[in-house]
């Protein structure tokens, strides 16, 4: 009962935040110098411009403009791109680009976790050893290394100088799986390096705390190998913060990969934002930015609710 109330409260809060953010976005677009309808039309004749103006609700004042767009969103009408006389549904574009971004994020998360988990476990187990110190300071340096700088330097070395991969482009996994992964390598590493650093640091801290627990000594006293103690008894109870942070990043990375997608010309949602800004597609811009914000807020709320749900039991478990 109580928990349902908490859920209801959080969902209402989330809806409010999203609605107000949408309204602010509309106000922002309304502020564009000159006539937004002309920007959208991109030099089309006056007849087309006034048709667009009516179609997107720019003739009804800022509130009318917001409501026209926002109520459309709620009923599944995500707006249109107006290009060279033709139109394209924003929803269709999202359907085509979102999976690409999700692939990129998913690969980056997998790579980051598969490096961070062993690194975090071992450096915690060997706390203050030479290995730990080298890993810690390397990761601290890497976490502050801008991902676009890394992306450009890697593409300079591996694509331009060595010619191992193509510097830009994207191939669907269904078309050519090998080529798909080959093109994804550099963008995925660019995103994964920062993630690996922060995940390793989170896990290391928690593992150091867990290693002091009685049940770890107890497990060791069974005579099982250190490796088994670490993987079977230490890792699971230490992974809560890591998994929470990884889940939160899923929300933040949608759209957060905008620069990497642009550098490597990967047709994901971030690249689409960049494109819609360049093409002055006001409506598409609004919708895409809102989608990115929604993903971010949505994941935050869900993760928050889940940790809330698990928390009392966890506290009880820890005794």
């Amino acid at each position: 009962m109580n928990f349902l109330q908490v859920i209801a409260k959080r969902l209402v809060g989330m809806a409010l935040v999203i609605t107000i953010a949408s309204f602010l976005l509309s106000c922002l677009m309304w502020q564009l110098p000159g006539d937004p309808a002309q920007l959208i039309a991109g030099g089309a004749p006056e007849g087309v411009v006034s048709a667009i103006r009516v179609e997107v609700g720019l003739d009804r004042g800022v509130f009318g403009f917001f409501w026209h767009w926002f109520s459309g969103l709620l009923s599944g009408d995500f707006g249109k791109y107006y290009l060279n006389g033709g139109t394209r549904d924003v929803l269709e574009v999202i359907k085509a680009t979102l999976p690409v971004s999700l692939q990129l994020i998913l690969y980056a998360q997998i790579v980051a976790l598969s490096f961070a988990i062993p690194l975090g476990l071992i450096s915690a187990y060997k706390e203050n050893s030479r290995f730990d110190r080298i890993v810690s300071s390397t990761l601290f340096t890497l976490v502050s290394f801008p991902s676009f700088a890394l992306a450009l330097i890697m593409s300079l070395i591996f694509a331009v100088k060595l010619g191992w991969v193509d510097p830009i482009g994207y191939v669907k996994p269904s078309e050519n799986l090998g080529q798909h992964f080959k093109l994804m390598v550099l963008p995925v590493i660019s995103i994964a390096v920062g993630l690996t650093s922060s995940y390793t640091r989170l896990l290391r801290t928690d593992v150091i705390a867990t290693l002091k627990e009685d049940y770890v000594t107890m497990a060791a006293s069974k005579g099982i190998s250190n490796k088994r103690v670490l993987w079977f008894h230490v890792f699971r109870p230490s992974s809560t913060t890591l998994l929470t942070s990884a889940a939160l990043n899923m929300g933040g990375l949608i759209g957060g990969t905008i620069v990497i997608e642009t550098i490597f010309v990967i047709p994901g949602i971030g690249y689409e934002v960049f494109y819609s800004i360049g093409a002055r597609q006001v409506i598409a811009m609004q919708t895409l930015i809102l989608l990115i914000s929604f993903a971010y807020v949505f994941f935050n709320t869900i993760v928050d609710l889940l940790t809330n749900a698990i928390d009392p039991r966890t506290r009880e478990r820890r005794g």
């Binding site: 409010l16 935040v17 999203i18 107000i20 953010a21 602010l24 976005l25 922002l28 677009m29 502020q31 564009l32 110098p33 000159g34 203050n128 110190r133 810690s136 300071s137 601290f140 340096t141 976490v143 502050s144 290394f145 801008p146 676009f148 700088a149 450009l152 330097i153 593409s155 300079l156 331009v160 100088k161 640091r201 933040g252 759209g255 957060g256 905008i258 620069v259 642009t262 550098i263 934002v273 960049f274 800004i277 360049g278 811009m285 930015i289 990115i292 914000s293 971010y296 807020v297």
Partner: protein
């Protein structure tokens, strides 16, 4: 996090680099360097360590070193201005919200949440593309761009530092010495400035250094997306311009990338040092 042994070395290196960048940012124009925006048509795309151009030139004949020194000016200015102003406003709003609570706090927290719901790069992208709108008919000047960029970054920074200041201040507003001071009828603003601010300041300062790093990254990202500072006036802009020439003159890319990376790493190390010395102070109590 960091070990005691390695900290001083990293700390001094980071400090020296930051100091150097601030110095050349402020006094770089004194140096005997060519004009950063003057093209040398005899030396197009010269590599580093050539006799007339220490760090080489771009494919368009601009001197790299002069560009980097000039870029430091803009980067230092943009990052310090936006972090100082945004951090100052954010800290003030956050601390007063924590102190007065009630409706004011509720409104502040809601606004922070709304602004934080839009990822910061996307938010500055949207703000910049609207307020520094430029096309062939009405080009926005570099100065206007810089001002709008700083304004956008301030809007992005306010909720980030505001939330941290509020959280940090909440731990102090109910401490005995604050309550004692309140009960003696001390004015709210005196309490905030005398008792709360000094305790919250180290936390704000360490996040502030991290924010300087983030601002430099955001500036670079925006340039790469083509809506930052134009014409190679900032490091990010040099990087963005050089991207197309990466195959012929890689130094156009890796030099600004190196400067950005070193500055970001240095400000993060510095922030980390501030935080860990703060932790030490806490643990001594």
């Amino acid at each position: 996090m960091k070990t005691r042994k390695s900290r001083p070395v990293g700390f001094y290196l980071a400090g020296s680099w930051l100091g150097l960048m601030v110095f050349i940012g402020l006094f770089g124009w004194i140096l005997p360097l060519p004009q950063w925006d003057e093209a040398f048509f005899d030396d197009l795309g010269v590599g580093p360590f050539s006799p007339r151009h220490l760090l080489g030139t771009t494919q368009d004949g601009y001197d790299m070193l002069a560009g980097l020194v000039n870029g430091a000016r803009l980067s230092v200015f943009i990052s310090f201005a936006s972090v100082l102003i945004g951090g100052g406003i954010g800290a003030l709003i956050g601390i007063t919200a924590a102190y007065f609570r009630g409706k004011y706090d509720l409104i502040v927290v809601s606004i922070f949440n709304i602004l934080l719901s839009i990822p910061n790069l996307v938010l500055s992208l949207a703000l910049l593309s609207v307020f520094a709108y430029s096309d062939a008919d009405n080009p926005a000047s570099t100065n206007r761009r810089v001002m709008v960029l700083i304004a956008s970054l301030i809007i992005v920074i306010i909720p980030i530092l505001g939330r941290i200041s509020r959280g940090s201040a909440l731990q102090w507003t109910n401490r005995e010495f604050v309550l004692a001071s309140k009960s003696m009828g001390t004015k709210s603003f005196t309490i905030i400035f005398k008792h709360i601010l000094p305790n919250v300041a180290p936390a704000i300062l360490s996040i502030g250094f991290l924010a300087i790093g983030s601002v430099i990254i955001v500036e670079g990202s925006l340039s790469i997306l083509g809506i930052g500072i134009p014409g190679g006036a900032s490091w990010g802009s040099m990087l963005a311009n050089g991207r197309g020439n990466i195959a012929y003159s890689p130094h156009e890319v890796y030099l600004p990338a190196l400067f950005i990376a070193l500055t970001v790493i240095s400000s993060n190390w510095f922030g980390d040092y501030v935080r860990s010395s703060l932790d030490k102070r806490e643990s001594k109590i």
